[in-house]
Every structure is written in structure tokens, then in C-alpha cells.
Symmetry: C2
Subunit: 761 residues, 2 copies
Amino acid sequence: MAISSLLLRPCPPILPTKPTAENSHRCYTSNRLGLRCLTCKNSLRKETAETSPPIGATLFSDSEYKHSWLEELKRACPPEISSQQWENDDEKFRELVDKRGVDNVRMLILDSVNHAKAGHPGMALGMAEVGYFLYRHAMRYNPRNPKWFNRDRFVLSAGHGCLLQYVCLHLAGFQSVQIEDLKRLTKLGSRTPGHPENTITDGIEVTTGPLGQGVPNAVGLALAEAHLAARFNKPDVAIVDHRTYCIMGDGCAMEGISHEAASLAAHWKLNKLTLIYDDNHNTIDGSTDLAFSEDTSARFQALGWKTITVDLRNGELKLFENALLSAYGETEKPTFIRVKTTIGKLSKKEGTSKAHHGTFDEDDVKQMKQKVKWENHQPFHVIPMIYREMQIQADQGEKLEAMWTSKLHYYQTAYPEEAAEFNALLHGGLVPGWESSLPQWSITDPVDATRGYSEKCLNQLAKVLPGLIGGSADLASSNKAYLHDCGDFQRQNYKGRNIRYGVREHAMGGISNGIALHGGGLIPFAATFLIFSDYMKNSIRLSALSHAAVTYIMTHDSIGLGEDGPTHQPVEQLAGLRAIPRLLVFRPADGNETAGAYKVAVANRDVPSVIALSRQKLAANVEGTSSDAVERGGYIVSDNCGEELPEIILISTGSELCLCEASANLLRKEGRRVRVVSLVCWRLFDRQPQEYKEDVLPSGVSKRLSVEAGSPLGWREYVGEKGSVLGVEEFGASGAYLDAFKKYGFTEENVTRIAKSLLSC
Amino acid sequence: MAISSLLLRPCPPILPTKPTAENSHRCYTSNRLGLRCLTCKNSLRKETAETSPPIGATLFSDSEYKHSWLEELKRACPPEISSQQWENDDEKFRELVDKRGVDNVRMLILDSVNHAKAGHPGMALGMAEVGYFLYRHAMRYNPRNPKWFNRDRFVLSAGHGCLLQYVCLHLAGFQSVQIEDLKRLTKLGSRTPGHPENTITDGIEVTTGPLGQGVPNAVGLALAEAHLAARFNKPDVAIVDHRTYCIMGDGCAMEGISHEAASLAAHWKLNKLTLIYDDNHNTIDGSTDLAFSEDTSARFQALGWKTITVDLRNGELKLFENALLSAYGETEKPTFIRVKTTIGKLSKKEGTSKAHHGTFDEDDVKQMKQKVKWENHQPFHVIPMIYREMQIQADQGEKLEAMWTSKLHYYQTAYPEEAAEFNALLHGGLVPGWESSLPQWSITDPVDATRGYSEKCLNQLAKVLPGLIGGSADLASSNKAYLHDCGDFQRQNYKGRNIRYGVREHAMGGISNGIALHGGGLIPFAATFLIFSDYMKNSIRLSALSHAAVTYIMTHDSIGLGEDGPTHQPVEQLAGLRAIPRLLVFRPADGNETAGAYKVAVANRDVPSVIALSRQKLAANVEGTSSDAVERGGYIVSDNCGEELPEIILISTGSELCLCEASANLLRKEGRRVRVVSLVCWRLFDRQPQEYKEDVLPSGVSKRLSVEAGSPLGWREYVGEKGSVLGVEEFGASGAYLDAFKKYGFTEENVTRIAKSLLSC
């Protein structure tokens, strides 16, 4: 029987995403030897046996396989369980096979940590049941194509437990994690770094480690699925349909970012999101009693989650399976499964924070191995049948992918228009010619704030980029970051492309990372005031580290925002953001530069960007700015020097560029050779060839003045030893924009004064 | 009857902090004309009348006063309430007086916003009842001494509603807010900036505006009270005994930082903390339905709070009074009062987000005034009797302070030893000679990580500084930031000086700010990994802005932390922190510099500091470092140049200084004149006189190399145009410390190589 027809048979789903006539048949799993539908008991083993073996797996005939397990279980089973109890009891047999799988996961964790002499075994050992069950029975993935679009997404928010995931990826047949990789845990250049990194290891969806971040990542992945499903699925065919799983620990549960994200997930009723809370009652400093007394389940209920508690301390996988089944049946709420576990399970340190990280002593290792009858195995031993066990799930994934591909073909025939758009998204979402949609402005257009120009760019892009989606942390109107006619993403309208984050900047960053890394071609933007980049700094950093191409739209970008005062006036934020590796920070000076910034930001699909924009209307339009020049980071805006070198160069960004231009014009009238340079993106300028940089900022010109209403930090690089930096070295002050600008010297008069004093040196 | 004897009469308290025989009599309030105990009904009016008049108040004889109110109420009372209903009904009369007080608060808000053409009237108008009631009936304060130690603390976490507080401060008689100040709302240099700033306006306890921050500030204030009360109160005399109030809005309720802080407040059972939630169902972008569906009260219950809901939309103050009474009676939990209000109350924009900020049009203003019979008053009108009303509360505060002072005298006699310590705290907590407790190290001492040196400094300081208190975000052991033998701050031991924050960096920052600004002489420290400064960036900024002298102990300060990889390896954090105005960022190179950093950090009681410390053991001790030199920010560590200029200067910080020293020694052996400079705190060095800076970094030496395992941003300032910067321009990598250091060039060999290439130019 071909898999496709198998999958169309009308047996009820066991681990369904959401039971529908259409998808009920890819929900089978195997809870017995081989591949078999849990409910209708139809054996699917034949198909499994036909597939290629997993890496490291030993091939067995069916009879050999069963026989080998019998031998293994007789050897390893606790003496109180006689073999008669399970030899002819399929359920019990399956239970013991799974138990042995969990043992194997634990032993690989133990061996890896002790071999590397580093790592965090505590959570990994405690959650072995969960990891094993997810990869063996629950999740849909294809190790031969880890990027298969419709795979389930898994996020390990408690990233320090990555060894659990590495071991599961290895057993499941992901090429990315071989035994040799486990041996190189945390070592330089390994594929098994100390925290999971999506850019290094196939099978890792997002980079985690900073606690709490994985929760919004998972919410973003689930949001992306809900959005794409709403847009593209049809009554007769669902081409977007996967679940999202996230494991979080006590630390994640304490971090505010997880509270924010959890509140939004419930607001959006993302019912295909399952959050698994490793409730092991320990953090680094000791028992959670030290600082954590809340009723976490009740809190999640108050937020609007379905909550389930499962005690896995005795290894009863059935309890966890039931919890997942219950989650799958939920249609209105995301599900929070609180799993009680024992940190450092098996070790003499178990149940204490001492097991959180570090190795085990020889005696402990010996006892741990004895407890699971492992003492005669070499380190990194894998029971050969375990590879085959995991292969069953992997094979299913491969078949699911094949089925999904068939569906996609059908979809292309039945819905060619939608299919074209979907296809564009699968290829990154950049429709040819999208750049030409960006508006252009001329010197005679009315002057606006750069946030005003941004609004026009964003809305033009929304028309041509099907994947553009995003929102603001309750400042859509102030940030001018609302996509008109695109609707709000809400439960009743998952098609909506405006995301209402509420006042939750940090979750917004983490969710945007999830959307960007979903792989569905979505192009997320996230908007707030520049000052509140402070609230989401770590998420922005993770965008850059994990190659999540989020566009951060940050308005009210200087003391020029005026009356709201120093709590809202960014000063040091640009410097702090510029220091983040890989991140592109733009501070455009007008409409054309704003369009140019968007062009670079959108075009680079593995680099995040910050576009800093003014609240206040610019003082004037500037002739000579350029959209195309933005990609070089810095360029000459105006110059009256002809073949000669300028006497002085005024370098600026954003809303201060027009001050420089005005001042330059004044000096030029006095006969001075003055150049004005826009340094709209430092990093891009730094990457230009030396000749270009020399052309723009000739080393022969030592009289340079930088003008930017922010921290002076870093400007010396561009003005040189003899240049001057006009910046803001204090916190700003409440006051009208022009008063605040005057107080800190950002007037044409003061710029001219400093320039003249440089010229007279 | 003297106030002191009045206060000793055995009538039960009405608005007690916590009823005890000792304090039951300062709990009186006035809910009728004049001052009267709500419960025993004894009039206290005589005492009140004898006090000096409030600023702007008109003096009345008692009969005039009552008469004037009768006239006012007859004029302003809604026609449906006949004067017979209240003329002889004290309760009703008081209710109407209070109602008129609330009207007056609203009208001042309206006038101020319209006069300034800026500000946020929405929340201020909606919460007028709460503001009025707190300042008129509930809070204990003395406008003539706003810093009175035992005052109740009030935090406006929804800082944009500051106009409500400004108006209340004005009516209550605080010199800091005159009518002229209200007229200058948000204007440059005014005492009424766009968000409340404690360094500008007496009566403002903490600087708020960034949403959510006020909640941990309030938790910190309540923690400080609980700690000091536990240490100093005696069975017969309580010298530390005040409540803490905090108003938060929907935005604060969404921000993760408030979730973190609320979880801790309940864990610590800070029952004297009252959090008032302005549930007006609106944020900037619209109805909270857009992004906020949770059951906030249930969430707070799950965290461990007592919760009360009050509907104030009809102005029934009695409901709020009852809620406060209930909060005062709670001995085990902090109290969360959810107050339903109408944003922009009175305006035609009321109940909508349009009322959040901005002015009102002429027609609206007219109607608003008509609604409260205010149409015949000039702008900024204050009913004269309102000043006198508020004066009653202010007079009480003055008397309470006098009583507290008497108590303190008694305490000094009865408990001289504790009194001496308490007195030291009241004067800032710096006991003479405290600096000498700091350890010193010699070149022959075993080499440690700088976090190890920090541990010793911190523990020595704990012995001599009675106010040193702080903790870590679940990394006490890794940060080595635990005060041995000082106990944990927990409900059963408020005396403990180690605060267990759990994994809640952002709340830790905000709570530390509250502790620092409590005024009880506490010297807070807050510890985490340097990378997680990202999670608390805005709180650190607010420390600097609000002069909260928190010492941030940030370990694992570079890629040198090793195996945990790039998610945990700070790269750009030092640059970002150095850009924050006022903040002192230290990166000490050994034990002596660590001691020096603590010395400066502790000595400066209005400036926060970050001390960045290594996880890894230093490569070697360095001869020539100095504790005393740290206060100059940078100094010469070693030099073989005699009277000549060096050929090259190696500039470094922290764990890389010993690399430079080793490299310098090698170059010196080859006959080179090499200077090594430690630039332990850029800001302090920048503040030195030009000659000193020239002595350390002579402009004649252009060959300079900076070596710091972090972002190069900013180093150009010190190495000059021709110098080289060895920094980290990418994210780090998982790997053993020495492997990671080698990968990025932080080896003696590479430093020497670069130095030589500079020398050969």
C-alpha cells in the first residue's frame, strides 16, 4: 500500500494537529515496534522497512529486530518485571522499548558531558523522557531535509539543555549531529556549541540560551503558521499546517519576556502552540523556593492558556502522551504542560541545583550506569535498535514531506494565483522588482519627519511584498508603522498583517525573530521608540546572531522628540546598537535615504536592521541625498570643492544633516570649500573599499565635524584626531524640540561656529 | 490636647500601616471638615487650625470655612441633590467636599495641558479620584520636609500621568510645584517635565516614564522598608514604618518587568506594598482589546497577591477607601487594587485612546468645565478651601514627623548601638574609614579571576558598610556576589542582606533603583553576567538618570567565559554601557583595581557603576597596578622610557592587561621603549585635566595599540588615527577560554605581532 493511500484511509488521528477530513491521516504514529497507527492498529511497518537506514543504524529483518529487543530487554529490565509480563503484551513491550530509549538518551548525555568536561546535564537528564517522546512519537520532521517547510517547529528555550536536543537529533538521524559531534560538545568549531545555534546545526530552529527568549520565538513560529495557514489553506487542501513545541525551564518562567509572550499567545489563541514547562524546582542558585513561589499553572490560566500537569519523575511516558493528545484537541487556547521532572536524574546530585551544570565524578558515573544496566557498554554506546526506532519517525517525516509536495502540486493546479504567491514566499518573499515600489522624493516636496517617509515606504512595500508583516509595541500611530488596508492579526483574522504587540517590546523582538526564522518567507518588522530598544536589546542581538532579518523601525530617535523628556529621549542607543555585530543601523536624513534604508534592510534576508527615524519634522529638504547611495553607508551629499580637497567636512546623519547643509551653504558663501557627508550606516561604510572611503573622507582633510544628536561614542573614527564631535553627552531634557536642540547645540549657528573655529585652527 | 497625647489615645486605627499598640494613633485621618478620627469621631480640628497656612491657602475661621464650603457646594452641587440632604449630614457633606476636591484636581489638569499644549491628560483625568484620595486622606508625608525619612513612598509607574501628581503635590503644599510650574508643564527647565524626575521635583521619589519600571521601584522601596524595619524596630518603638504605593497602567501591566517584580513582591510577602492598577482599558493604540485579554487580577492572585477590584467610574471614593483599609489589614500579601476608571474623564474623548495625550479643543474644554460648574472660573483656579483641606493632611504629616523625631530621640537613649548604625544609614551609610577594609593584593599572591577578587572586596565591605545589600539574578555562585554570614532576605528573615532575585534581571535593576532611592542609606548591588545587562539596560539607564547609586557587578565579561558560547559572551555590552551618560563603567585588571573600582563605586552615592569582571582566571599578576589610581580612570602601569617618550603604548583593560604587560616585556627585551596603560574607567579618565591625560597618553606617541576583548567601538579616541585597535568585531564562539581567545587574537604572540607591525611603520 502506498503511503499516500495509507494516509487517506479514514482512521482517526492519534497525534493530530487539528483533526480535519483532510489531514487526519498523517497523524498516525508508532507506539509499537515498527510503524503502526495507534488507533486503528494498522501496521505500517512495510513502508518503513523499505526506506534507507538511518546514519549509524544497523539493519534488521523484522524478526531479528524483535528478537534483539527481547534480548536487550531481558538483560536490562528490572528484575521485578518478569519477561512474561511483556513478551506477549504489545503495550508493555512498547513501554519498555521506550524506557530503554530514554535510558539511551540519558547515557549519551552523560557520556557527552563527561567527555567534553563541560555542559549542562541537569535539565537534559531530567527531561530525557520529553525529548525522547517528542522526537520518537510526536514531532513531524524529516532529518533528510531539516528545512522541510511544513515540519513541526521545536524551540528549546532552556537553551543550556541543548545536549538533550543534540542527542535526540543524533538518534533521529540528523546528519548535523554525529557521535563525533557529541564528543566535541562546546568545543571551538564544533556543531554542538554550548547553547544551540541555528546557523551551525541543522535541526536547531532558533538560537537560544538567554533565558526566556525561546518562548516568544515559539510564539512567532506559531504566529507565522497561523498567518500563512489562514492565507493559503483551502477547504480541500491545507499546505500550511504544523505545530510548534517549546520547552522552557524555571528560569524562562521567571523572565518577564516569557510572561509577555505568553500573554500574547493566549490573546491570539494560538492553539497549535504547546509550551512544555520543565518544573524541576531548581535553578543555578538552588531550589526555586529561594525566589519563586507563584502558582505558575494558575498564572498561565489567568493569561488564557489551557494547562495540564504531568509528573514524569517516574518515567511514565503515557502521561505525557495523554497531555499532548489533550493539547492537540484544544481549538481555542495554547497549551501549557507543566512537567514535573528531576534535575540530574540518576546522578547522586539529582534533585539539586548541583546537577545544573558540570561533570559527574567517576563514582557517580559508575552508579548512574549501573542504575540502567549500562555498565558494560563503551562510552557513546547506542542500542542499535534505537536508531531503527527513531528511524520510524524520520521515515514518517519523509513520507509526510512527499505527501506535502504532492499537495503542493495539487494546490498549484487548483489555486495557481495563491500558489504563485506561496511559492514566492517559500523562496524568500522577494518578488522581482519589489524595490521599484519604494517612493522617491524631490527637493520641492513638502518636508516631513523621517517617520512620515517611513510610513510611505512601508505601505508601498506592503503592496508588493506578500510576506511583509509586523507591528508596534502599542505605538503604531506614533511610529507610523501601520500597514493600511492590511488588517490586524487577531484570532478572528489571522490573515491580518498588522501585529498588535501591546506594550511588550521584548516579546515583540523575540516573536519577530520567530517569524523571521520560520522559513515561510515572512519579512517581519517591529516598531517602537528608539529609547525602548533598551527593553529588547537582547532580542535585537539575537536577531543578528541568528541571522533573523527583522527590520526594527525605531522612531523618536533623539532629543528632538521634545516634551517627553529624558526618559524618552535616546542618547546612547545608537552607539549601543552600532556596536552589535552584523546589525545594520540606519539613520536616514530624509525620504530618499529612508527608502534606501528599507531597500537594503529588505534585500538582506539574513541580516537584521534598525532604521532610526525622527519624530520631528525635518528643518528642510536637502539637495543631494540619494536612495541608492545608502547601500554604501556613507556618501558625499554636497560639495563645492571641484578638483580640490575640501577645507572642512561636515559629517552627519538623520535630522541633523540639514543643519550641516545649511551651515555648509553659509560657509560656502564666505568662500569656504565645504563638503557635507551623510554617514547613514556606519557598518556599510566601513565595509567599502579603502579607495571609496578615501574619496568620501580624504585623509588629507583633518578638519572634520560630526553632528549627531546622540552619544559621541565612536565618531572619532570618522572625524580623526583633529576633528570635532558634536554630540549629546548628558541625558536630554523635557522641552519643545527646538528648545532641546538649542540647549545641546544643534542649531545652524552653533554648527557654523564650531566649523569656523576648526577652520581657524 | 497635644498631638502626641492625641496620638496615644486608644482609639482603633483607620488607615493603619499595621496596627500595633505603638502606632495605632497616627492612623487617624479626616473624613469630615477639619481633622477628625474616622472611627472614634473625636475632632482634631483644634490642632489643625493652629498650624501655619499652606502655600496659596486662604485662612478661614472655622465658621467661615464651613460657611464657604456651604456656599460652594450649593453652587456646584448637581440639582438633583438638594442641600438639605447634606447640610446636616456630615458623611454626605464630606463626600461632596471630596468630590469638589476631585473636580478641582481635574480642572487643574485640564488647564495645565491646555496651557502647555502638551502632556498626557487621559490617565490623569481618569485617576483624579485616586490621586486626590491618596494625597488628601491616605498618605503620610510632610511637604515642608519632602525627604522626611518615615514618609510613605509613592511611585507613579505610569509616569506619563505625572500631571496628576504635579497637581496633587501643588494642592498638598509642596513648594516644588507652584501654579507657575503647572503653567510650564513639559517646558525646558521647568520643574514639571514631561515625565516625573526625582532629581528635579521634590515630592517625586523616582524617575518614571519607561513603562513598568515603577513597579520594581516600588518593590525596592517596600523591600528597603521591610529590611530596615526588621533590623531596627524594637518591641517598644518602630522607627521604620511606612507604606509604599504605586500606580500602574495597562502598559505597565503588559511589560514583563512588572510581572517579574510582582512575582518577587509576593514571594517576599511585602504586605505594606499597595499596587493600584488604573484599569482604563485603553493604551495609545486603542482599546486594550487589541492586545490584552488576560485576567489581570487572577494573574496577580496566582503570583500570591491579595486582589481587590473597585469601580471608580462614578467617583465613589468610599469604595477606594475600603480597598485601602482592606490592604492595610493584610499581613501576608502585597495588595493589588484594580481600579476601573474612565480615561480622559469629562472630555468628549473620554473612554477612548484619543484622550491618552494631547490637548482638548475649545468646545470640549467648555463642556468639561460646564460639567463641573467651573465655567466662571479663571484658568488655574483653586477653591481656597481645597488648599486648607489638603493642609490637614500636610499638617498631620508634619506632626507625624515630629513624633517620629521624638521616637528617634527615645531610640537613641534606649538603643544607642543600633541608633548609631541607623544614624549612619540616615547619613548615607558611609562609615568613616570604610575604604580601609578593602583588601590589597601583592604580585606574589595566587592569581585569581577578577570575579574572585570582587567576592573578597564585597565581603570585606559588607563587614563595615551597614547598608550594603544586594543580590544576583540566580547567579550568586557564578557572580561570586554573595555576602557570607549575612543571610538571605526572605519573609522569615527580612534582616538578610542577600537578595535572591531569581532569573529576573530587569526587575533586579528596577528594585535596586528603588532601594537606592529609598533614602535609608542602603547601598545596593545587583549581579548578573555582563551579557544580561541587555535584559536590564533601561533600568541601568534609569539608575544613571535618577542618581540611583547601584553597583552592578557583571561577571563573565568577555569571550573569555568560554564554553557557553556567543549567546553568553558579551561583545558590544561594554561599549553600550560606556555610552550611557553619568554611568561609571569599570573593567579592573586584577585584585587591586577591583578594590579601587569598589572604592569609587561606593564613595559616589549619586552615581551608578558597572564593574565588569572576568570569569576566567587571569593569565598572570601584573606589577604596577594600583587601587588608588582607579579613580583617575587610566594610568601608567609600566614603562621603561625614563625621560624619553615611549615608542609605543599598549592600552588595555581587565583580563587583557596582563597580555599587554607580557608583550611589553618581550618588546622591552628587544630594546623597545614600551608603556602599558590601564584604562579601567573611560569616563573618569576623560574627566582628568588635560595635562594628566597628556602625561599618560602623550600626543607625541602615535603608535598605540588597544587590547580589549570587546567591541572596538570608541577605542579610536585613545589610540588616535595611527593606532590599532584589537577588539572583537563578531559574536564570539563556544569553545574553551584559551581557544576562544586565540581565535580572536588575544594572545601574547598576536599582541606582540601587531605591536611590532606598528613599530615598523
